[in-house]
């Protein structure tokens, strides 16, 4: 489960996350939605120990990511928005490294790698360099990798961004299977409202650092009297485009796209 109480993050004068609170019970599929710059990524970074909060409390499976970093890290797996695989290693090697880093003992590791690679249908490509994988394959590999240490919680930051519908469908059915079978809690962010509507059991909408709505997809649609989640979202957060400044990561992303041409 995930518990967040009055979580705040300030960058100098700017308050990115402003005293948010929510609770995700075990085995839930939770969507964290919001416009650009709302504070989604900052929140995920705090939950996954990449950023220190300014104030507030978090608990991941009962562990505090700030004071109990290593234990908290063991309790979750994460698939980042940008691939964090090593392009010059094989799929198997990427999995192996993760296993070693998370201190999974050798025999268990080998078994799980095989099991997971077969689960995401990449076992026959296990000795290929990740460099040659398509975006969808990389994402599947990252999901498999995130699960080697059998985490209770899986974080996904825009997991299907840029993927074709078949792959998106495939990825979500993998995740839903895991949620069904292992009772794994799933916490994800996305801009694809249709996916969130189909997959999420609970949703929180964040805007300008504050949570503006919470509930099941149906509840949000009822609350705003909207036919779809996308309409509900627009009703809650308005239709103006959010001003955004290109940060370092955006510049790097641009470079990366240029590189791969």
């Amino acid at each position: 489960m995930i518990e967040v109480k009055n979580l705040t993050k300030k960058f100098g004068d700017f308050t990115a996350v402003d005293g948010i609170s929510f609770f995700v019970p075990d085995g839930d599929i939770f969507a964290f939605l919001g416009p650009n710059g709302a504070g989604k990524t900052t929140t995920i970074k705090m939950l996954t120990t990449l950023l220190h909060p300014t104030s507030g409390k978090m608990l991941l499976d009962g562990r505090d990511p700030v004071t109990d970093q290593h234990e908290a890290r063991r309790s979750f797996g994460i698939v980042f928005q940008d691939p964090s695989l090593d392009d010059e290693l094989t799929a198997y090697e990427n999995m192996e490294f993760h296993g070693v880093l998370y201190k999974v003992s050798r025999d268990i590791r080998r078994k799980r790698i095989e099991q997971l690679l077969k689960f995401v249908e990449l076992w026959d490509r296990k000795d290929d360099l990740v460099r040659h994988f398509s975006g969808g394959m990389k994402r599947r590999l990252e999901i498999a990798r995130g699960l080697i240490h059998h985490p209770k919680i899986l974080f996904l930051d825009e997991p299907t961004l840029g993927l074709d519908p078949q792959t998106r469908n495939h990825i979500w059915s993998h995740i839903k299977n895991l949620n069904d079978e292992e009772k794994m809690t799933v916490f994800f962010t996305t801009h694809y409202m249709d996916e969130a509507e189909r997959v999420a059991k609970q949703i929180a909408v964040i805007d300008r650092g504050k949570i503006v709505a919470r509930g099941s997809p149906q509840e949000l649609k009822d609350q705003t009297r909207s036919p779809s989640l996308e309409d509900a979202f627009l009703a809650l957060t308005g239709r103006t485009i959010r001003e955004d400044e290109a940060s370092a990561i955006d510049r790097l992303r641009l470079r990366r796209r240029m590189r791969s041409r």
Binding site: L50, D87, L101, L252
Partner: protein
Amino acid sequence: MSTIYILWLRQLKRYFRSRARIIGSLGQPLLFLVALGFGFGPIFERAGGGNYIQFLAPGIIAMSILFTALFSGIEIIWDRQFGFLKETLVAPVSRFQIMIGRTLGGATVASLQGIIVFFISFLAGFRLMNIALLPMALLFVVLIALLFTALGTAIASILEDMQGFQLIMNFLVMPIFFLSGALFPLQGLPKALILAARLDILSYGVDGLRGTLVNGANFGLATDFFFLSAVVIVLLAIGSYLFSKIQV
């Protein structure tokens, strides 16, 4: 322990898998050796400096170590957002172990490059003067490699994108290389240049290599070893502190 090993292993696998990159990165040292070696050779000899290839080779070996080591440290900038590093930052392992594993791996790769250049220089006419000192020469290779990998790591921990990298190349790495006595002897130079060379830590590395491979250590092998080791320790400390502060 296995964390450090796996990160070290990863650097090595990446190195050996890219034959094109290995050969490509040997191009510049080879070019310098041949063009400058045979170009300046006659003048150098006439001025009483002896065989220029003998003088130059240790400098070129140091050059290849310097660039390879620094680049593997700088790789962190890219890795931070798109690579393995993010994955390691979120894993339940200490940042220190990650940094040490990476640095040792990068230093090993840089040392291997230096050793390859060493063998290539034989093709250009370099002759080893004292085979008994070869282990000591290897020690200097490793020290230079460690030093600059740690430096690259420290710098990369502060930079967020590749823009600052150009500045670093032009205002830090090039001066370090050119003022280190790799290409020309440090005797009889204007006072300012001699002072700059004395402050340049690579000078001690080049001197140490020259002293063990050729004979003719200006500052003395002990001094070279002492200064290099001291700076390695300081940079490892600074590097691991800065690395631990990385926020993605």
